[in-house]
Structures are given as C-alpha cells and as structure tokens.
C-alpha cells in the first residue's frame, strides 16, 4: 500500500449475518466525517458490506439492496437431494458439495446485485476472505469475480454448499477467522477499524442442525477471541473495535430491523470519531 502521508486506515467487517448491516452505519459516519478509508476487508456477511462500500455504493442504496438480497426466501427452497445424501450416503452418494439449502436463489441475487464486477475493480482496495475446505487455511480474494468471492465467503456450513473457484473448494470465511484483522495488518494498515459479531447460541437445541450450529458457534466464537487477542498484541498501531449494542435480538433474516441495525452501527461509530480524527491526522510514531 502506498503511504498517504497520514495513518493508513483499514475497515474490517467480520461475520454476523444481517447484523453486519451495522457496517453501513459505520461507513456512513466515516464518510460524513471525512475519515479516509485505504482498504476494506470483509468476511462472511461482512463481505457484502465491504464490497458495497469498496465499490462506492451509498448507504441508502446498500440498505435497499440488502432488503431484497437477504430475505427468508433464500433458505426456503431445500436441497432435498443433499438431505437424502446425508441420510443415505450409500445409496445417493455423499461428497463435499453439501448444503441443505438450494443455493440458486442466493447466487442469482448476488449476480443481480454485483453483476460481473471484479474484486480488483473496487474504488477502494478490497479483500474478501473465505476458507479453503481442504486445508482450512484462510484465502484472501483480492482479485477475481466479485460474486465468486462473496459466494465463497458466505458459504455457511451445512446451509450453503461450498463454492468452487478455479478448482479449489471454499467454505465460509468465519471458519478460518471470523474477524480477519490479520489481512489489514498484512496489507500495511496503521489504524484498523473493526466490526464483528459473535455467532449466536441456540436457545433451544431441537434438531441435528441446531446442534451443529451450536457447536459451530462455540468454535467460531472462541476462534474470534483467540485471533482478536493475537492481533491486538501483534499490531504496531491501533485497532479500534466498533461494536454496536443491540437492544433487540436480531435474527438471521431480520431484514425489517435493518434500519435499526444501521442506526446502532452509526451510534457506535460516532463515539470513536474524536479519537479517530486524532489517529488519522498523524503518521504512527
């Protein structure tokens, strides 16, 4: 990254499904306060908002698109064949392309929203993360078809089947790091503004899928904390967590609450502005 003569600012949006829309509130505040953004990193649900911002969408447009992109219909059409494969692998055959939800709708919506845009064409350098299914390693998409990068980044285990790009198979970015601050550190950021969310725990474990989700949340939340702790100690300058507090429970497809989610993101961001101004004005010592 070229030195802009001031602190280099990265924004990292981690996983958190619809809660990630709070990032729009954060970006809105950064824009209105004239805080420069030198690179954007996104993971899982956060990859959508990282991309929207890096491509210069305004907040109203991004909010409108979210309401049509991320709805309950996405998971309504089950992948019956996948279910049969899981239950009777001997008869139907089982392979790594497993996902209980038919993913054609999400793919169509991503294509409708982002078309044939490429990651490297973003106005602000954009980095989206996914996880290599075979090695478990984090993969950073800094170029290539944007829809592929996002689809790989949001390949929620058990729900959406893994996504193949150039012969490699990817699953959700949160499986390697739910809040990929390391990417911003590696790309030379000084000030890292980060927003991410812990995966919710199940209130009732009433199915195998909920049981699996619970285990996934336990693992990923501990991974989030372990990585965050390491990045905090390893980074040479500042990491500013912007963590909105939601008074209402936000469910996976709670699109009706998006304006509220954005508002809380805005509120959390506003608190950081005076200190951010100070940080951005000077090069780190």
């Amino acid at each position: 990254m070229d030195s802009p003569g001031r602190s280099r600012v990265a924004v990292v949006i981690g996983s958190g499904s619809v809660k990630c829309a709070a990032a729009l509130g954060l970006f809105k505040v950064l824009r209105s306060e004239g805080i420069p953004i030198d690179l954007v990193v996104g993971c899982s649900g956060g990859s959508l908002y990282a991309a929207m911002t890096a491509f210069g969408w305004d907040v109203d447009e991004a909010e409108r698109k979210t309401r049509t992109l991320w709805t309950k219909e996405l998971t309504r059409r089950r992948n019956t064949r996948a279910l049969l494969r899981a239950v009777l692998p001997g008869i139907f055959g089982f392979d790594e392309q497993f996902g209980l939800v038919d993913d054609r709708r999400i793919l169509a919506r991503l294509e409708e929203a982002f078309g044939e845009a490429r990651v490297e064409d973003a106005k602000v350098p954009l980095y989206l993360t996914a996880t290599d299914f075979h090695t478990g390693e984090q993969t950073v998409f800094a170029k290539g078809r944007l829809v592929d990068a996002i689809r790989a980044s949001i390949a929620i285990p058990y729900i959406f089947q893994p996504w193949k790009v150039d012969g490699r198979t990817y699953v959700d970015g949160f499986l390697s790091d739910p809040m990929p601050i390391g990417v911003a550190i590696k790309e030379g950021a000084d000030v890292i503004i980060t927003m991410g969310f812990e995966s919710p725990y199940q209130t009732r474990v009433s199915s195998v899928l909920r049981f699996a989700f619970q285990l996934s949340s336990i693992t990923s939340n501990n991974l989030l904390k372990a990585n965050y702790a390491f990045h905090n100690l390893a980074h040479h300058h500042e990491i500013l967590p912007v963590i909105p507090q939601f008074r209402h429970k936000i469910h996976l497809f709670d699109t009706a609450r998006i304006p509220y989610v954005i508002e809380e993101g805005e509120r959390a961001a506003e608190k950081q502005i005076p200190y951010l101004r100070q940080l951005v004005a000077a090069r780190p010592a």
Binding site: L224, K225, A226, Y228, A229, H231, N232, L233, H235, H237, E238, I239, L240, P241, I243, Q245, K271, Q272, Y275, Q278, L279
Partner: protein, 112 residues
C-alpha cells in the same frame, strides 16, 4: 484521561476516567510504572469511569500486568463497565486478569 491515585494499606488504587487508547496509554503506563517503581506492586485499576479501550490501551494494561506479576504483585481491575468488559472479553483479557465488581472487593482480594 484522568488518573487519581489512592493508597489503601499495601494496595495502590488508580482511578481512571476516560478512554484507555493510544493517545492516553503513555500517561497510563507512566502512572503504573511510577507505582511499580515505588514498590507498589499490588495495583487496582478502578475502571468505573473508563468508557472505551483500544488495542494500544490493552497493550498498556498487559505491560503493567506482566511487570507487577514479575515482582510478585498483580494488576486487578474493578468496576469494569459493560462496553469495556466486552472488549476485554473479546481480546482474551478476562481469561488472564482478575476482575471485581468494586474497588473494595479488588483491594480485599490482595489480602486473601
């Protein structure tokens, strides 16, 4: 950031107000060092009026924790507010630091 020092028996209580971040960390580290240098290795950080902490703030805390423990003492935190608590938790600090609801309990913990 404001720091007020109060000594209670063998414990130094530092009441901190404001943000614990890169801008304020040097002053905080200096205050902690002064205490440790003067032999006050049992320190309570009164966080009742701390409203935010960033990575630089966390690193300052960690430095003091290590220094006090190397000398047989400790840095313990009291009255950590929910917003700061969330960051401490996220950064794994609640796994290595002793936190108390109030200053009295934190001070008393050194006598236990």
């Amino acid at each position: 950031m404001e720091i007020q020092v109060e000594r209670r028996a063998a414990v130094a209580v530092l009441a901190i107000a404001g943000s614990v971040d890169g801008a304020t960390a040097p002053a905080l580290v200096a205050a902690f060092r002064e205490e440790v240098g003067g032999g006050w290795i049992r320190i309570v950080g009164d966080f009742a009026r701390v409203d935010y902490t960033s990575s630089a703030g966390l690193r300052a805390l960690l430095e003091t924790v290590k220094e006090t423990r190397q000398r047989g003492g400790d840095l313990r935190l009291a009255a950590v507010q929910p917003e700061v608590r969330r960051v401490l938790d996220l950064a794994g600090f609640t796994g290595i630091l002793k936190l108390y609801d109030g200053v009295d309990a934190a001070v008393a913990s050194f006598g236990a």
